[in-house]
Every structure is written in C-alpha cells, then in structure tokens.
C-alpha cells in the first residue's frame, strides 16, 4: 500500500449516552481545514447504541460522510468493542489521517487502535497542519509539562493518528443546509478476552459545569488564600456572568474541585475574558489559558510571570480590588 491508497481525513465522534462531546465538533472543524488543503473528504465515525439522531449534527458541522455503527455492546464506552469498531472502519475506508479528542475516552481508545493497526499516534495535539508543498501532515504538541513544543510526523504508516486537546480547535458554524452521506457499517462484534463489564455508572455529585464553555472566567490561585477569598471571586464572576476557574495550587489546597482546574494537567480554555487573581503564572497554568482573548491579572508580586501574558496587569491586593470592582460593575450594569 502507498500513500495514494489512503484518502480522507477521518474523525471519531465521541458521544456519551447519546450526547456529543464538544471536542467531536471541534475535530470536524479542523478536519475541514485539512481536507481543503489536501483536497479530500471529511469522514466521521459515529459508534454507539441508539445514536443515529446525532448524524444530522455531524453533517451540519461539516462531515461529508458519517459512518455509523450501532450495537448494544457500544452502549457504555468500553475499550475493546470500540477499538474493534473503529479499527474495522479504518481498515475498510483507509483514511490518511485519523483524529480523536484527547479525552478520557480518546486517550484510551486511540492507543489501542494504533497498536492494532501498527501505526503512529501523537498525543494531545494543539496544532495540526498539512504542508501544502509536500502534503506532509505535521502534528504539534506540548511536552515537558508544557515547557516545550514538539512537531511530529508519521511518514510511513497509515493512517497518521492524533488525539487533539479539547478546547483548542474551532468548530464550524452550524449549517443545516449542508449535505452529507450516511453509511451504516455492519460489523459483527465478537466477545473476546479483552472485554470487561461496566457494572455501574457513577455520576459525580458536583454540579456539572464546563469551564471550557464559559465566555468569562474568574480564576484564582494560591494568592486567593482560601474559600473565603473564592467567595469574592464568585461575586465578580456573578457580576460578569462568568464561571470560577482555578490554578492547580488552589485545587491541591482543596479550595476548588478538579473540574475547574486550568492548565497542562487541567483544562485548556480560551474565553473572551480571563481574570487571573492571585495566580503567579506557572508555565503549566499559562499553557491552559494564554489563548484567552483578553487577560486581566491581579497579583501582589510585580514580578509574577502571569504579567507576561496579561493584557492588563494590576499589581495590588485582590482582596480589596475585587470587591470594589464587583461593586462598580454592578453599578455600571444597573445604570
């Protein structure tokens, strides 16, 4: 087989209990860019149980073709049946590139598929490009705790596979007039020694929030000092219609849940407005938020690295500035 035998940019549409994970649409958006450069099609693999209702969304967001596998064994995510399904589609359609979200599912599924197909896999990419000169697919990812970026190619194995960090790629605007093809893929699942049972689904009791969806984030770090300090930030977040986010230090201290953590080991966010309060700006935090449109930093330490990425840096005491600012914003809004 040569490269000419492999065509199309394919993505895995992750869904959890019938609901698409946002990164699935981001991947299609990126795949459209890539497909335009190499003049090929965007294929989307949708696997699950009773998930056909999602096909129209995938097409509206840019899929040329949706390959649908439905089976009861795909009800809850399990590594082996999903690996079988995705591997079978790749073997049948031979895409040149295959993208997954770098989620708790994608980062489990993709290495299993790559292992089975004997191909390369690049983890947690933040940039994907095709060089128009030589059609080379270049995947760029942070390494070394976000200190270093590496660009990686997969020259002789197909498809080149990548997991892509959620929140980094941009989905297309929804267009319900777009046309796409739906293919029902028949696959006979065979239970083997790799199967395991999911005995229970345990929902987290904390209120479900996704800081990646928020337009405004008010983030706090060690300098916030504790839960009382975070109440001040909550006041500002409420006044701005935003959500609370957190540095790793504040999560480690137990002041905020892990779901709100921004950074290399947390989430990547790019809101319109990001307030960094009492966050010194460790590289691993900056890796998760520096793409925000407008960054305001408030910290006592004038040499804090956060000021290197802030559009507006305020050297001062957040415990006094934040309440006053909140008051002014509320007054402004009132009238």
């Amino acid at each position: 087989m040569t490269i000419e035998d492999y065509q199309g940019i394919f993505t895995f549409a992750q869904q959890v209990r019938g609901e698409l994970t946002p990164v699935s649409l981001e991947l299609i958006g990126k795949a459209r860019d890539l497909a335009q450069i190499s003049d090929t099609e965007v294929g989307v693999i949708l696997a699950g149980n009773n998930v056909a209702h999602l096909v129209k969304d995938l097409i509206a967001y840019g899929a040329d073709r949706v390959i649908l596998i439905e089976d009861a064994v795909l009800d809850e995510y399990r590594t082996e049946p999903y690996t079988q399904a995705v591997t079978a589609v790749i073997e049948a359609y031979k895409p040149e590139i295959m993208l997954f979200g770098a989620t708790a599912i994608g980062r489990d599924l993709a290495p299993r598929v790559a292992g089975r197909l004997h191909t390369g896999l690049t983890a947690d990419c933040t940039s994907l490009e095709i060089d128009p000169e030589n059609n080379q697919f270049r995947m760029t990812r942070p390494a070394f705790g976000g200190n270093l970026m590496a660009t990686i190619i997969c020259p002789d194995h197909y498809p080149a596979m990548a997991t892509v960090r959620p929140g980094v790629m941009v989905k297309e605007l929804r267009d319900d007039s777009r046309k796409g093809e739906i293919v029902r893929f028949d696959y006979q699942f065979e239970e083997n020694q790799n199967y395991f049972e999911v005995e229970e689904v345990i929902k987290k009791i904390t209120q479900k929030i996704d800081i990646q969806d928020a337009k405004v984030l008010v983030a706090g770090g060690r300098g916030v000092g504790g839960e009382a300090g975070f109440e001040l930030l909550q006041g500002l977040a409420d006044a701005l219609g935003g959500e609370i986010a957190s540095s790793r230090a504040a999560v480690d201290a137990g002041w905020q849940p892990k779901e709100r953590q921004v950074g290399q080991t947390g989430k990547t966010v790019r809101p319109s407005l990001y307030f960094a309060c009492g966050i010194s700006g460790a590289i691993q935090h900056l890796a998760g938020m520096e793409e925000s449109d407008y960054i305001v930093a408030i910290d006592k330490n004038p040499d804090a690295p956060i000021f290197n990425v802030a559009d507006l840096g305020i050297v001062g005491d957040l415990h006094r500035i934040v309440p006053l600012l909140t008051e002014r914003i509320l007054a402004e809004r009132a009238g």
Binding site: E76, Y77, T79, E80, T103, A104, I105, R107, D108, P111, R112, A114, G115, R116, H118, G120, L121, A123, D124, P142, A143, F144, G145, N147, L148, M149, A150, T151, I152, I153, C154, P155, Q193, N194, F196, E197, V198, E199, V201, I202, K203, K204, V216, L240, L273, I283, Y294, I295, I298, N308, V309, A310, G313, V315, G316, R320, L324, L325, I329, E332
Partner: protein, 260 residues
C-alpha cells in the same frame, strides 16, 4: 498473585525553568524522580501485596541512571526489578517503547500489570494501553480505586465528569492515576535491601523477544521533526496604583473592549 509495575525515571518538570534570554529549557540541576503516576501504581501494587499477598516486580526501560528508580521501588517494598537497557532501544516512540516493554514482560509471569496513566515528561498516556494491546489483554485506564475479587479486578475508572465501576478478568493491565493513593516512604529495611540484598536484573537487546523492526528509531512510526520553546506572548500594560484607581482602570478597559 504476580504483579508487574512499569515505572519511568523522569525529570521533575515542575522544576524546569526557561532561560529568559534564549527561551530554551534549563535542564541542568533538574532532579530526576520516579514518575508520579507510576509511583501511585507501585503503591497500589504494594497495597494489594499487603492485603492479599503478591509478588511485585518493577520494570523500567532507560539508561543506567534509571536504576535509581528501581532501587527506590525496592526500598518501598518491590520484590524484583528489571532494567531494560540497550542503545538499540534509544529514540523509541510510544509504539516501539510499548513493543519492547511487552516483549520483556512476556518473559515474566503476571496476573496484573500496572502502569502510570502518563509520564510528566511526555504526557502521552499511550504506552500502557499499547502494552496491553501487544500482550492481548484488557486495559482499564485512569484507575482511581481498585480491589481484587477472586480472579477479577474491580476498578473505579475515571472520566471527565463521571466514573465507571469496571470488572475485568485477570490478566489485565490498568493505568494508575495519582489520585489513587499517597505513596509510602522508603523504609530503612527497604533501603538496606535496595542496595545490599536485592539485585537489579539487566536485560539487553538479545534478552528481549521483539522484532528489530519494532524498536528504536527505525521501529518508531512517529518522528519528532522540530522542538521549540513556546512562543512568548508580548506583555500588555502593567499598573501599580491604589485600590480605587485599579478598580476604575479595569472597569474602563473592560468598557473599552466591549467586555461588559
């Protein structure tokens, strides 16, 4: 019950600093440590040993310096340690690394293999599942709790906003998260064992059953073509004024940028 834990020696990336002038990594003086998720995996294995009785082996691939983490594992309570080392293994990507480790592990008996979820220098989280694929056993990733029931392992497997309670037949591979536990300290007796009583077994290329086409640079499907420091954003303005002025200033800027 035989447990194999895969561990890796990594630079402590939280200690890595960038040279402000050149923008390059300052690697000097950065301590080498046992990768934190791997250490949680080793602790999980040692707790299973404490509770049910088990033989715990640790294995690492790396240069001779990596013996340090094997000795640390001995000192924590591991029973056997294997260093997989050869110049032929250098420059391996995750495919090649997992092929080599799977080859080495296939020489040992095991009921359970534990790897860390991911290493802090590479952050790929791929080697564990790929080892399982090469060995033809199930893998359960992102373990936050686990226990044994007969010949099965029950794992609380983490996702972003929910978890699964998974029951898998042994042999199986699980990938451990730091959240799993707080690793124990080395014991004085353990430290004695680590340097006197216990021997690290060294395996070279000839000792590992794996194809030449699956190892090292040649056996790696992926290639790093370029690495570079992150582009530095140009700082905006910074002010140091009173509380009133600061609040006013922010308010004005937010209005100017239509963010209110």
């Amino acid at each position: 019950m035989k447990i194999i834990v895969c561990i890796k020696q990594v630079p402590d990336t939280t200690e890595v600093r960038l040279d402000p002038k050149t923008g390059t990594l300052i690697r000097e003086g950065v301590p080498s440590i046992m990768n934190p998720d791997d250490k949680a995996g080793l602790e999980a294995a040692l707790r299973l040993k404490d509770e049910y009785g088990a033989h715990v082996s640790v294995i690492t691939m790396g240069p001779y310096q990596a013996k340090a983490v094997l000795r640390e594992a001995f000192a924590m309570g591991a029973d056997a340690a294997y260093l997989v080392t050869d110049r032929a293994f250098a420059a391996s990507d995750t495919w090649a690394t997992s092929s080599i480790l799977a080859g080495a592990i296939s020489k040992l008996e095991y009921d359970l293999i534990i790897t860390g979820r991911q290493a802090i220098d590479g952050d790929t989280a791929q080697v564990g599942p790929e080892i399982a694929e090469h060995l033809g056993i199930p893998n359960v990733s992102y373990a936050e709790e686990l226990h044994l029931e007969g010949d099965e392992i029950v794992v609380k497997r983490q996702f972003e906003d929910y978890s699964h309670l998974v029951r898998a037949k042994l042999p199986a591979l699980i990938t451990a998260m730091g959240e799993l536990n707080t690793p124990r300290y080395m014991t004085p007796g353990g430290i004695f064992d680590a340097f006197r009583a216990k021997e690290i077994v060294e395996w070279n290329r000839v000792d590992v059953p794996v194809d030449d086409g699956d190892i090292g640079y040649r056996g790696s499907p992926t290639r790093v073509v370029k690495s570079f420091p992150k582009t530095v954003k140009v700082p905006g303005m910074k002010i140091e004024e009173g509380v009133e002025e600061s609040a006013e200033f922010i308010l004005d800027k937010l209005k100017e940028k239509y963010l209110l």
